[in-house]
C-alpha cells in the first residue's frame, strides 16, 4: 500500500520551483491604471488595488513579511503602510512628479518577495523603511487617479480599505509560517512574488 510521505526539506526547492513556474505562467499585463475614465466612488477605489496584479502581489508580500517576522512587525506594518501611502498619494494628487512609479511598484514586488523568500529575521526598522519607501510608489499611483474620481472621498476610502484587506490576506497566508513546513511554503510564496515582480518589471520597463 502506498503511504503518503511528509514533505521533507529536500522537497522545498521543488515546491518553490513549482510555485515559481505557476507564477510565471499566470501573470497578465498590469492593468491597475487603465480605469481612470471610469474612476468613481468607493467601488472603483476598492477595486483599484485588487484588479492590479502588481499592487496585489506587493501588498500580499507586505502581509507575508509581517507574518514571517512576527510581532510587532505583523501589527505595525499594516498600520504604518496606509499612513505612508497617504503621503505618496498626496504627492500624486498635488502633481508632484515621481519618476518610474510603475517600475518602483514592480521592484517593490521583487524586493519584498525576496525578503520573504530569504526568511531571515530582518530588523523591524529596516523592514519598516523598505516597506514605507515602496508605499510611496503605490500611494502615488493611486493618488494620481484620485482627481479623476467623481466621489474622491469614496474612492480614497475604497482603495485604502482594498489595500488593507490585501495586507490581511497576506497575513492570513503567512499564518502557517509558525510551522516548519508552513515556513517553507511561505518562503516559496515570497519567491513566486519576486518572480512575478520580474515579469511586471519586464512589462513596465
Amino acid at each position: 500500500m502506498l503511504v503518503p510521505r511528509p514533505m521533507g526539506p529536500s522537497a522545498a526547492p521543488l515546491a518553490a520551483i513549482a510555485v515559481g513556474l505557476v507564477a510565471l505562467a499566470l501573470p497578465l499585463p498590469a492593468m491597475a491604471h487603465e480605469a481612470a475614465g471610469s474612476a468613481s466612488g468607493f467601488v472603483t477605489g476598492f477595486l483599484h488595488p485588487i484588479l492590479g496584479w502588481d499592487h496585489v502581489v506587493a501588498m500580499v508580500a507586505v502581509g507575508l513579511l509581517g507574518a514571517l517576522l512576527g510581532p510587532p512587525a505583523i501589527y505595525l506594518l499594516p498600520i504604518v503602510f496606509p499612513l505612508v501611502m497617504a503621503f505618496g498619494g498626496a504627492a500624486g494628487v498635488a502633481g508632484v512628479p515621481l519618476p518610474g512609479v510603475e517600475i518602483g511598484i514592480a521592484i517593490s514586488a521583487i524586493v519584498l518577495g525576496l525578503m520573504v523568500a530569504a526568511g531571515r529575521q530582518i530588523p523591524l526598522a529596516i523592514a519598516a523603511v523598505v516597506v514605507g519607501a515602496f508605499a510611496i510608489f503605490h500611494g502615488h499611483a493611486h493618488g494620481t487617479e484620485l482627481p479623476a474620481a467623481t466621489d474622491a472621498l469614496g474612492y480614497a476610502i475604497g482603495f485604502v480599505v482594498g489595500t488593507g484587506l490585501l495586507h490581511l490576506i497576506g497575513i492570513a497566508l503567512g499564518w502557517p509560517a509558525r510551522w516548519s513546513a508552513g515556513r517553507t511554503l511561505v518562503r516559496a510564496l515570497g519567491g513566486a512574488i519576486a518572480v512575478a515582480g520580474v515579469a511586471f518589471l519586464a512589462g513596465a520597463a
Partner: protein
C-alpha cells in the same frame, strides 16, 4: 470585532451621495435626519473616527468626549442663520478632524483632553456643515433626527470598540484609524490642490 467590521463595511458600502435634503418618501423628516450623518461620507468618516477614539480608551476618554460631542452638535445645528464665514470651510474642517482623530486612534494614546476637544470640534463641524447645507429648510424634526443619528452612531461605534481588549483586536482598531487618516489626508490634499489650481 466582527460586529464592528460588519458595521464599518455597511457604512462604507452604503455611503453615497448625500440625500438628506431629498427626503425618502413616507419615512418622514425625523428619520431622514437620522440617516443623514450615515449617508454623507465625510460625516460618517468623522463619526467613525470619533467613535473609535471614544471607545479605544473607554470610559476614561468617552466620559468627557461624548457629552462634548452631543452638546456642540446641538449648538451647530441650532446656530442662527446667516452662519459665520468660518462655517464655509466646515467640509475641510471635517476632513482635518477625521485625519487627526484617525492618527490619534492609530497611535493608540489615551489623550483625554485632546479627545474631548476633537469630539467637541467634530460635533460643531458636523452641525454647522449640515446647517450650511440645509439652510432655512432645516426643520426641527430634521435637526432632532440628525442629532440623534449622529450621537447614536458615535455611541454605537464607541460601544462596539470599547470591549475589544485583545492585542489583535486593539491592533485592528488602530489599523482602522490609520485607514481613516490616510483617506482623509488624500482628499484634504485634493481639496487644497483643487483650490490652489482654481486660485
Amino acid at each position: 470585532m466582527s460586529r464592528l467590521l460588519a458595521s464599518l463595511c455597511a457604512v462604507l458600502l452604503f455611503t453615497g451621495t448625500a440625500r438628506a435634503h431629498s427626503p425618502i418618501p413616507a419615512v418622514g423628516a425625523f428619520y431622514n435626519g437620522m440617516l443623514h450623518p450615515l449617508i454623507t461620507p465625510s460625516h460618517a468618516l468623522v463619526l467613525l473616527a470619533i467613535g473609535l477614539l471614544c471607545g479605544q480608551h473607554a470610559p476614561r476618554v468617552s466620559r468627557p468626549a461624548l457629552p462634548a460631542f452631543a452638546a456642540l452638535l446641538a449648538l451647530g445645528l441650532a446656530w442662527p442663520l446667516p452662519l459665520p464665514a468660518l462655517a464655509a470651510d466646515t467640509a475641510t474642517a471635517l476632513l482635518v478632524l477625521a485625519a487627526i482623530a484617525g492618527v490619534c486612534v492609530a497611535l493608540g494614546g489615551a489623550w483625554r483632553g485632546l479627545a474631548a476637544l476633537m469630539a467637541a470640534c467634530a460635533g460643531l463641524a458636523v452641525g454647522l456643515d449640515t446647517r450650511a447645507d440645509a439652510g432655512p429648510a432645516l426643520t426641527s424634526a430634521d435637526g432632532a433626527g440628525i442629532w440623534l443619528g449622529a450621537v447614536l452612531a458615535v455611541t454605537l461605534v464607541g460601544g462596539l470598540s470599547a470591549p475589544l481588549r485583545r492585542t489583535w483586536q486593539r491592533i485592528g482598531v488602530r489599523a482602522l484609524g490609520s485607514w481613516i487618516a490616510a483617506a482623509s489626508l488624500l482628499v484634504l490634499t485634493l481639496t487644497f490642490a483643487t483650490s490652489a489650481g482654481a486660485g
